[in-house]
Symmetry: C2
Subunit: 194 residues, 2 copies
DNA sequence: TGGAAGTTAGTAAATATTTACTAACTTTGC
DNA sequence: GCAAAGTTAGTAAATATTTACTAACTTCCA
């Protein structure tokens, strides 16, 4: 488990990232914002990478929690996919920095541990959605004349694009309504018509 | 127009980016690879940002060229969208560093000029595809019961996701075949059935 | 009273950029 | 036609700043 100060470091880090970007997250900024000296940070985390790893863990755990609760949120595969859309979007609204982190792969390029963790998270997401798509196809809810692999790519790509547009500060982006509309469009395209 | 040395700087920069990432592009690396001193670089470009701007310009121009030739490549709106898919993918295959640059927005975050140029490029892409979608709908080729805005988001999201997967070195990714399959899937979803 | 959490004062390395200068061309005015 | 003046492209050396991180000392509280 993490101590109070460790949690504070993560919280403040997320806040810095959301305003100044990942590159704005320096030990100096972090220490200043918390109100302690730079070396004091190292009493709680070995190095900067450990802090970023903790942030990614936080994100990973949120995702796993969402996946775990899926059965209680919806019954049909399509509704479950929609619940994932909404779930992620809520998480991003509460912590906009998570979006920044997720789109920061290029910055992590020369840090294998970070790179690996991001890849893990993305692979897990893909796998969950792909199995939901396959289940929906088996149940006759989702069109079966399409490989689940490609459908999954289209779904995840749409989700990411939506988040990206929202992040880019598209002022014409009305959260709840847009998420619903985009998902409805996707649903309209892939579901089997009655 | 750009001088020979300026072009060389851009070419070598692209090469460095494709192997070491944008963060590997330092004036030192660049100068070493070309075989001149660091300050000599500044004889040709004011600063590092100017070099990155030139790279983005190169990318922007490629896109505009593609958009300009669209009429000669295909006739129907759907085929034109497919030509854009293929065109971008070819550009990325020839210059993998372009993908890195396109997904490096986070790195450009505190450089308004770079940020602006990236936004411009994305907006231009969106506008072109959106107008093609609308045209396809008007001609009865693309489903009309869906707002072109959302359809565009799904198309661009799919394209980006495809490129991202390819970039992540998905070894199971067979360029030509996959691009075609993904586009076929998309087509199957959005086109009006005869 | 001893260890956890803090401070002060640094270091080493990286990085973009500036300064002062030179050699080799090119242009221009008499 | 040719020398003076200017330009281009380079160098070596130094600078300013940022960054992650460390060593050694101090405070404080259970």
């Amino acid at each position: 488990m993490s101590t109070e100060r460790q949690q504070e470091i993560i919280d403040v880090s997320l806040d810095i990232i959301s305003t100044k970007g990942i590159q704005g997250l320096t030990i100096k900024n972090l220490a200043k914002r918390i109100g302690i000296s730079e070396p004091a940070i190292y009493r709680h985390y070995d190095n900067k990478i450990s802090i970023l790893l903790a942030i990614l863990d936080y994100f990973k755990t949120s995702g796993e929690l969402l996946f775990g609760n899926l059965d209680s949120l919806a019954t049909s595969p399509l509704k479950k996919i929609e619940a994932i859309f909404q779930g992620y979007f809520n998480a991003f609204r509460q912590n906009p920095s998570l979006v920044t982190v997720i789109f920061s792969e290029e910055i992590f390029r020369n840090e294998p541990m970070l790179q690996q963790k991001i890849t893990d998270i993305m692979d897990k997401n893909s796998a969950v959605i792909k199995s939901l798509v396959a289940e929906g196809q088996a149940k006759g809810e989702i069109k079966s004349d399409i490989e689940s692999k490609y459908l999954t790519l289209i779904i995840i790509g749409s989700l990411r694009m939506m988040v990206k547009k929202w992040q880019m500060g598209d002022k014409a982006f009305n959260h709840r309504e847009e998420v619903e509309n985009i998902f409805k469009t996707l649903e309209q395209l892939i579901k089997v018509n009655a």
